[in-house]
Amino acid sequence: MGSDLKTDVLVIGAGPAGSMTAKWAAKHGASVLMIEKRQEIGSPVRCGEGMSKDWLPDVGIKPGRWVNVEVEGARIFSPNETVFEINEKHAGNEVGYVVERDEFDKQLAIDAANAGVEVRLKTAATGILKDDGKVVGAKVKQFGTTFDVHAKVTVGADGFESQVGRWAGIPTNIALKDMDSCLQYRMTNVDCDVRFCDFYLGKVAPGGYVWIFPKAEGLANVGIGVQVSQIRSMAEPRDYLDRWIAHHPAYSKGKKIDMVGGGVSISPPLKQTVMDGFMVVGDAARMIDPLTGGGIANGCIAGKICGTVAAQAAQRGDSSKEALLEYDRGWRARLEEKLYRNWLAKEKLCSLSDETFDKVVDALKDVKLQKLNVHNILKAVRDKYPEVTKEFEAFL
């Protein structure tokens, strides 16, 4: 047994959402302990490394050396490879910067530490401490020693594979249709265009897409997400990705220098994100944008709110569910409407045939869209392919 610890706020997981939560809780005067089960924050990387950028100032993140390239926009390729270009402002939350994700995560952890957060590596939560139904901390293990951390507020920020939320009693299970299984190679010697993040839709990646995120001239992340409910046999995401690469000479001549994988939720957000003494944030709260698969922005935005509410609760000595609901209301006000809308759009897109995809993208490419919103997209499609519009009636 190690000796037990006491803190105002315990944050489990040092990804972007965890570091943001910890930093903002510390900035608001709380004592904060952030634990990370891995030995190195940000590593291994599990993500495509694309993110939008307009939200960064709002949560206090300054661009640093973690930025690889700044892209102008996104290109959407339909199954017959009709291309539609969107500028960065309208392209959703994975387009803007391509980043060095491990550097980014480390920078956020540094910001948190500099704000006063205590960070412990190789420290895993192994269970939740409860007192009369209320979460009062966690059982943790560090370097083989187990001890208790008593906290006024405990925050689960343990990512897609979150277990803390489930241990605490918040249902975080996801349906097979609400998850993409992802695989990505970093490839060198490829002909990528550093001005764009590219997305290939349709049967090349059922229920997901193939992405190309340029890291530098000749270097790109080439990845795929496939909806788990559409996977029929073992290792299909890898087979789909290898097949796609084989059919694209600009990439098949490349060399793989790195390989990462992961799960991405493409679900609506959790119905419940707080309980007495406990909050869940980021990918663990299924805050990933179900349409784009981007989770960093939402995790950080929610993290700031979560940290602020955690500090207030600790100071007032009231971490009841009612008090913590301020966080729940706060992040929903910022993110929920869009998450639901994009989830519905994702449900629709997953059901489209390749022919329909081709028509939609073809209709879009003719139009100089002033503003890329659902209404304008539908109008463009209706003008050119009226027969396709009925597929989208639900959105009108």
Binding site: R38, E161, S181, S233, P237, G263
Partner: protein, 63 residues
């Protein structure tokens, strides 16, 4: 009692890339990933095969 099928996670690094996809999707929360060690709770697992599909590289086999 019918005997359960066997589930094998190839976790020596030959196939598994420690990505956590299986951990997140397992409906019974019975897979554990600790850096480069992956284990599952034999007794809790129902052999539903969901993790087999979710694994992007085919490191989980059931038979």
């Amino acid at each position: 009692m019918p005997s359960k099928k066997s589930l094998h996670i190839e976790s020596s690094g030959q196939l598994c890339i420690y990505c956590g996809a299986c951990v997140g999707i397992c409906p019974l929360n019975c897979i554990y990933l600790d850096e480069t060690r992956i284990t599952f709770d034999e007794k809790v697992c129902t052999r539903c095969e969901i993790c087999v599909k979710a694994c992007p590289v085919g490191a989980i086999e059931i038979g």
